[in-house]
């Protein structure tokens, strides 16, 4: 959370991490939920040596990807909830709020760093951009 507050160009910090709690729905904000592995504080049940570890991005690209990771995660966790609770209107509204933010952020990432998906706009560039580094499993 510290590295989020310190990130100089953070347009998204406000959206995804400006409080630790979404009071309307009793949820974590996306970044806090992401590092806990769940958006629902009531379901957080850590092992004795579990703790939420702050993400330590290595560069600006990784930092922006972390915002995408956090919003994607929020959408995944709300998605599973909505599968079983399809008539929760508040949660559906929140899902759509995160989904919209995520789509905007992915577009910006795609134009700066290349495609995350084979539907990315940056695939119109020459030469073919999909096979550029980094692959997700590589760290050197």
């Amino acid at each position: 959370m510290n590295n989020y507050q310190n990130y100089p160009n953070s347009n998204y910090y406000k959206n995804i991490s400006d409080n630790n709690y979404n009071a309307t729905n009793n949820l974590f904000d996306p970044y806090t939920g992401f590092i806990h592995g769940n958006m629902f504080p009531s379901l957080y049940d850590p092992y004795e040596i579990s703790k939420p570890y702050d993400i330590q991005p290595l560069n600006d690209q990784a930092q922006m990807l972390t915002y995408i990771d956090a919003l994607s995660f929020a959408a995944i966790d709300l998605n599973l909830y909505l599968d079983v609770h399809p008539e929760d209107r508040n949660m559906l509204n929140l899902f759509n709020q995160y989904r919209t933010q995520l789509n905007d952020l992915k577009k910006e990432y795609d134009s700066k760093y290349g495609p995350l998906l084979l539907s990315g706009d940056s695939l119109t560039a020459f030469p073919w951009a999909w096979n550029k580094k980094p692959w997700p499993w590589e760290n050197k």
Partner: protein
């Protein structure tokens, strides 16, 4: 169909080689309660779920488990990519080196190859969902054992994340199971 997204669900950046830990993580790769077994279990069960809630939940958790397979593979790869033959042998991975070199290959931690015998699919939602609840609990315990075997925060962070996902999946399966029992007036 499925669409590949060129990122992990949770970032993994392991700097310290640990061939023994790589070996232990195979439990979650190709073991009976590992992520691959979970993904295939749910993605096979979804066809015979009795309503839209079940078809959606099994599809979506099964899909997330595929992302967890990728995370476990990434951890194994980063922990052992630089390991020498001697280090593979010392970690009990000499047999893995002989057959697979540094390649990823789904086995359990003792080198037993993955088998579809690990996948339960009975065609009965009640049996399948309770089986899934138990599978999520077994996977949670295995993550705790794995966390006991390392002190590297680069490894503990993704393990901590994955362990909590087992708890969330357990809860959603249980909610679906309870909903069906009430909806279909099953006598518990």
């Amino acid at each position: 169909m499925w669409i590949y997204e060129k990122k992990l669900e949770y970032p993994i950046n392991i700097k310290r080689k640990d061939t023994a830990m790589a070996r232990y993580l195979f439990a979650q790769y190709g073991g009976p309660d590992g992520e691959l077994a979970a993904a295939l279990r749910y993605l096979n069960q979804r066809y015979t779920m009795p309503d839209e809630r079940g078809k959606a939940l099994l599809t979506d958790i099964g899909t997330e488990e595929m992302a967890h397979v990728e995370m476990i593979a990434t951890m194994i790869y980063q922990l052992s990519d630089d390991a020498s033959i001697k280090e593979f042998e010392a970690a009990g991975l000499g047999g893995h080196y002989t057959q697979h070199d540094h390649a990823l290959f789904p086995t359990d931690t003792n080198g037993v190859p993955f088998t579809s015998a690990y996948i339960e699919a009975t065609g009965d939602y009640w049996a399948d969902l309770e089986s899934n609840m138990a599978a999520e609990q077994r996977a949670r315990v295995m993550y705790e054992h794995l966390m006991n075997e390392t002190d590297d925060p680069d490894v503990l962070a993704p393990l901590s994340f994955l362990r909590q996902r087992e708890i969330v999946h357990y809860t959603r399966f249980k909610e679906l199971r309870d909903y069906y029992i009430s909806k279909y007036k099953r006598n518990t």
